[in-house]
């Protein structure tokens, strides 16, 4: 019975992440690429995303704190973050990258600072949600159950 309850929690949580826009269809694509021959695919890809993003956020913070901000450089980093987040379906992170790139183009430092705060917020939110999702999966497996496919 515990397995059924865990599976139900997992499905509900998963649905909410899609409904609230934290994840989009691209994440589902990744889930569909996972199978018995690649059972850890989603976790591997998401881990890469975490590593990539944290490095980028650090680089962005450093770049924006410079006395003479190199907006082209900042933009290049945001472009990468936009790409990575879009590749895994971290929809809200991708969305903040758009005004961020605009601020870079306008060489608007205040805009960039605001966007950096926002993108960090969204990143840590989705990171937290994904870690919770993986924990729920692990609990199901530990209880001897199978992770249900999200429709």
């Amino acid at each position: 019975m515990e397995v059924v309850q865990l599976q139900r929690s997992f499905l509900e949580y998963s649905s909410s992440l899609f409904q609230e826009g934290f994840l989009d269809a691209q994440f589902s694509q990744l889930q569909q690429l996972q199978d018995e021959s690649n059972p850890q695919f989603v976790m591997e890809v998401v881990t890469l995303f975490f590593e990539d993003s944290e490095r980028l956020l650090n680089d962005l913070t450093f770049a924006i704190e410079q006395p003479n901000v190199d907006f082209k450089n900042v933009d290049a980093h945001v472009h990468q973050l936009k790409g990575s987040s879009s590749s895994i379906g971290a929809h809200r992170v991708t969305n903040v990258c758009i005004p961020f790139r605009n601020s870079c183009e306008e060489q608007n430092i205040q805009g960039c600072l605001r966007c950096l705060t926002l993108v960090k917020q969204e990143y840590f939110l989705v990171k937290n949600k994904l870690e919770t999702l993986f924990r729920l999966e692990q609990q199901i497996v530990a209880a001897g159950g199978v992770i249900p496919m999200v429709e």
Binding site: A25, Q26, Q29, L30, Q32, L33, N38, F41, E44, V45, L48, F49, D52, H79, Q80, K82, G83, S84, S86, S87, I88, G89
Partner: protein, 149 residues
């Protein structure tokens, strides 16, 4: 009779064993495109930049060092990201199309940005297709269908 039999066999083989060289500077994207292609029964080799891709294809400087790639395995398709530091996907495309030995390999360009002038430029230079990132399973299916025609 014999000729059509042989081509039927090679067509079947082509469906099973398309060998794709996937080029992208982003590790995350490389991993995803690799899985997408492998899930569509392709053999996949990845390269992290244009130079490595050309080395694999046997083109070093402007010299063709070997007709086939490493281990004599032929590459049937090259799929490359557009925005890469150093050599862009467009520059890689040009080098491939300029090579007498490589020019017939179809090249697909991927980009996260939908820029019509960029798309036109790549198609004019001989790109088989231009695809928007992030790639989906349906994109890879469409690609296989197009390639096998």
């Amino acid at each position: 009779m014999e000729i059509s039999h042989a081509s039927a066999i090679s067509k079947t083989r082509a469906m099973d064993e398309i060998h794709v060289l996937a080029v992208d500077d982003n590790l995350l994207d490389r991993k995803i495109v690799e899985r997408l292609l492998k899930n569509s029964s392709c053999k996949v080799t990845t390269a992290e930049n244009g130079l490595r891709a050309l080395e694999y294809l046997g083109l070093v400087g402007d010299q063709q060092t070997s007709v086939d790639g490493h281990h004599g395995v032929k590459v049937n398709l090259i799929i490359t990201d557009y925005c890469m530091p150093g050599m862009t996907g467009y520059e890689l495309l040009k080098k491939i199309k300029q090579s007498s030995t490589l020019k017939d390999i179809p090249v697909v360009i991927m980009s996260s940005e939908d820029v019509p002038t960029r798309i036109d430029k790549c198609l004019e230079e001989g790109a088989q297709m231009f695809m928007l990132k992030p790639l989906k399973h349906s994109d890879v299916k469409r690609l296989r269908c197009q390639l096998l025609q």
